[in-house]
Subunit: 503 residues, 2 copies
């Protein structure tokens, strides 16, 4: 048997699927950045056809036969070789995708398309009851989906695995149980201290100047404009088509300078991950990032561990003051630094600070697991949500729009997604400790506006490997241990000790 | 046999191909409007895959069998029914596409990809000799392509037919032979009169103001922004994805106000054609315009017959003066009108005025026919070109960059394309006479800035029918005769008589 020919054929099919997905990604980007409103119907058809063709191609008998034939060959290779990893990733995805009957795929797509509109209206009108039947259907659909993968250790495992290959519900629960009391304690300690001022961030900040400053920062930290661009969109996101063309979007709030700035750094972090993937993985099964959590570790690192650090602003604050002399000319660096790191329990996840953010996630994870286990009914969600918000953050939402209805994810059937945000924070903390060990003068480099060292480290240790390693494996390879909340908590405690003068 | 099921299946396949082509069109648009330079390699793969999948799908045995089976059924239908026309168009395209061996498709694609770079360099360095071997290869490839369709009446017929379904070389020659002496005579007559001034058009005109005025004009003439948009690009063009989403691009010259303005109207004319196609033709074989010439009749009508008319500027000139008081405040309407209609033989086709434009086209058509007939060798092109330019326009290019190397088309293997530009002018003249018969107060409507009547007429008579009718058929249906140069010549003579005071 000519294994090489078979492998080439398999890679050829994957490249073709990758091309269809790249086209779909551009169409999705365009939909949010450029498309006139009237284009929605046609765009729906086009995206539907591209998605269907890619799916049909992948679950074809030809791919199954090639995998069957290549697995014995791959078993004889170094398990860390690209070929062995390719076969492993493809087998995993093939098994998953072929297990799902196409009727379920269609039903899920139709339900989520409808649910999005229902959710948006329900949130707008603050009416959970109108969304409840939709969410019940989606929970049911996700449970039926999970059943396809029985036997499992936990019914939530198959959902989590879609976003974090190899990670188990038990792992996440264990991590979060260690983390929760420490986060709660930290917030309590901060609440006992005098609050810092952040009012100067909430003034009129000209949009074009915000844009220009953001571009300046991206350029300085090493964003490669030859392979990327930035646009305005209603929701910030990153998309890419191989490592050739990576795009971020940003939105602007003219009354709050932090919004665009930190979201630009966040998306820039995602983008630099994709830009750093080895070119040899373009159009292969190993393209893209390792998982959502590892991706989030990169975006949260640039947004927070770098972008809300004192050395970073020692470098950039004078420039920001030049852009906004009226607003910031009389605000000392120290005050600015404290302001952008102000901790205050709040109702809305996407506006949460670093100290409270993970608690928003834990609440959602608990709910998702309870829903999937059948221990919580959808109709009881608002009550459950509000009780937990009070327990974790000392706040009760005045209505469901600011509570259980705030996030888009569930209307899209994305149960299993939320924990990746918090896991990303934890991984960023682990990487950060390791980077600071490997580059002892990192703070000084950042203070001087030099980011080559940091970026080089990230490319070498993380980015270049694409999706070759599973997330736990990747973290283990880089830091010597699996996902662990301790470094992130040390980072938070150290940071807020200085800002809030904790003991 | 269940014809309906077969027809549905055929339409389903065509819809899928249409989706692949729509995705390709968006990727092509993005490439010229947004794509970072580094994206070119990946974009090439993606476009290649989409094109190949669409082609493979269309030339499949399944489509052939469905056509075979549906033809007897369609023969029993009204030949003007959508179904009969769909089968006719698909059979025509299927026969064409299946006749071309895939090796020739690949060779042609590779050669044109290479030739574009060689041509650009040759033009830049004014070195025809370096382009000559490439063009020889392309001419040879096009002849081999034509041979696939033997027997033909003329070797140029199969090439022309790709752009103008049903039109024959003999038709075009006959039309042009009637037209040429009249155009030459008109130009001579104008040359004998005092020249009009156009220098005020060549001042500094702020780009943003040009953009704003262009948008105002497009809005007023009825461009539907809910289904369209405008962007900047190096070359103006129009693209669309069904009638849901139609996009134009414009380029700006800050030292000449006419460039963006008339190119915006030109592309706007193309766009309004696509926007006016009946929605029922979306994702079908009858989507899009009838042919390049009919398309050009719409763009040239808005650019010239409307956009360079006195009534149009009686309405818009006061606004233009408000945008540019320094430049135009002291230029009377009459002078402005004459300036934008100034006739002056020139070397470059895309800068030619209405009176000389067609001669540029005739020269190219003669050359293409002679090349295909084997009566002219590629190496003799520069000499031939320069002699004809002298004969038709009284000018000899100082170099080949301003002569035979000026157009991109041949480097793309697009032999058979040029005549559509001149034919579009002629058709616009025919439509224009008919419109003015049907709407006797059209000039007054335009003077008042009312374009609903004109647009309604175009949608009813031309746009809504998509590509259901062949170009000659379409012109016949609308005007009662086939393509005929007389109305366009009457239009030109009448116009220039007034502007240049001809007898």
């Amino acid at each position: 048997m000519d294994y090489e020919a078979k492998l080439n054929r398999l890679n050829e099919i994957i490249a073709e699927i990758s091309d269809l997905n790249a086209a779909g990604a551009l169409l999705g980007w365009d939909q949010q950045v450029n498309m006139p409103a009237g284009g929605a119907e046609g765009r729906g058809y086009t995206l539907g056809t591209l998605g269907r063709l890619a799916h049909e191609r992948f679950v074809s008998a030809e791919v199954g036969t090639l995998l069957d034939e290549l697995e014995p060959y791959a078993a004889g290779l170094d398990p860390d070789s690209d070929t062995a990893r390719t076969i492993k990733v493809l087998r995993r995805n093939y098994t998953k995708e072929t297990k799902v009957p196409s009727e379920m795929v269609v039903e899920f797509a139709q339900t989520t398309t409808m649910a999005h509109g229902v959710w948006a209206k329900a949130r707008h009108e603050n009416d959970f009851a109108s969304f409840q039947p939709m969410l019940e259907k989606l929970v049911d659909l996700r449970r039926r989906y999970a059943e396809l993968f029985a036997p499992y250790t936990h019914v939530y495992d198959p959902l989590l695995d879609d976003f974090e290959p190899g990670l188990k519900t038990a792992d996440v629960k264990q991590i979060f149980e260690a983390l929760r009391p420490q986060q709660v304690e930290l917030i309590k300690a901060i609440a006992g201290q005098p609050q810092v001022d952040a009012s100067f961030l909430y003034q009129h900040y000209d949009e074009q100047k915000q844009w220009d400053f953001g571009v300046e920062v991206l350029t300085k930290i090493g964003y490669d404009w030859n392979r990327s661009r930035q646009d305005r969109a209603a929701h910030p996101f990153t998309t890419n088509f191989g490592n050739w063309d990576v795009r971020i979007t940003t939105r602007f709030d003219q009354n709050y300078v932090g919004s665009a700035l930190f979201s630009t750094l966040h998306e820039g972090g995602h983008a630099m991950y994709e830009l750093g993937v080895d070119s040899k993985y373009n159009r292969t099964a190993l393209a893209g990032g390792a998982s959502l959590a590892v991706h989030e570790s990169q975006s949260r690192m640039w947004e927070n561990l770098v972008g809300r650090s004192l050395p970073f602003w020692e470098h950039f604050y004078p420039r920001l003051q030049e852009y906004f002399p009226e607003q910031l000319g009389n605000v000392p660096l120290e005050s600015f630094y404290k302001g952008i790191n102000r901790v205050e329990p709040s109702l809305i996840r996407v506006e949460a600070d670093e100290a409270t953010y993970n608690l928003h996630i834990m609440l959602r994870l608990e709910i998702e697991i309870a829903l999937m286990e059948g221990k919580l009914a959808v109709k009881d969600l608002p009550e459950y949500w509000n009780a937990r918000m009070q327990e974790y953050l000392g706040l009760t939402p005045p209505n469901d729009a600011k509570g259980v209805l705030q996030d888009v994810h569930w209307s899209g059937g994305m149960i299993g997604y939320f924990s990746t945000y918090a896991l990303g924070n934890l991984v960023s903390g682990q990487f950060w400790e390791k980077i600071n060990q490997d580059i002892p003068d990192l703070s000084e480099q950042i203070r001087q506006g030099k980011f080559e060292g940091l970026r080089g480290w990230l490319v070498e240790k993380v980015h270049q490997h694409g999706s070759k390693y599973e997330p736990q494996e990747m973290v283990q390879r880089v830091t010597g241990s699996k996902i662990d909340p301790a470094p992130y908590m040390r980072y938070l405690q150290d940071k807020y000790r200085k800002i809030y003068g904790l003991a």
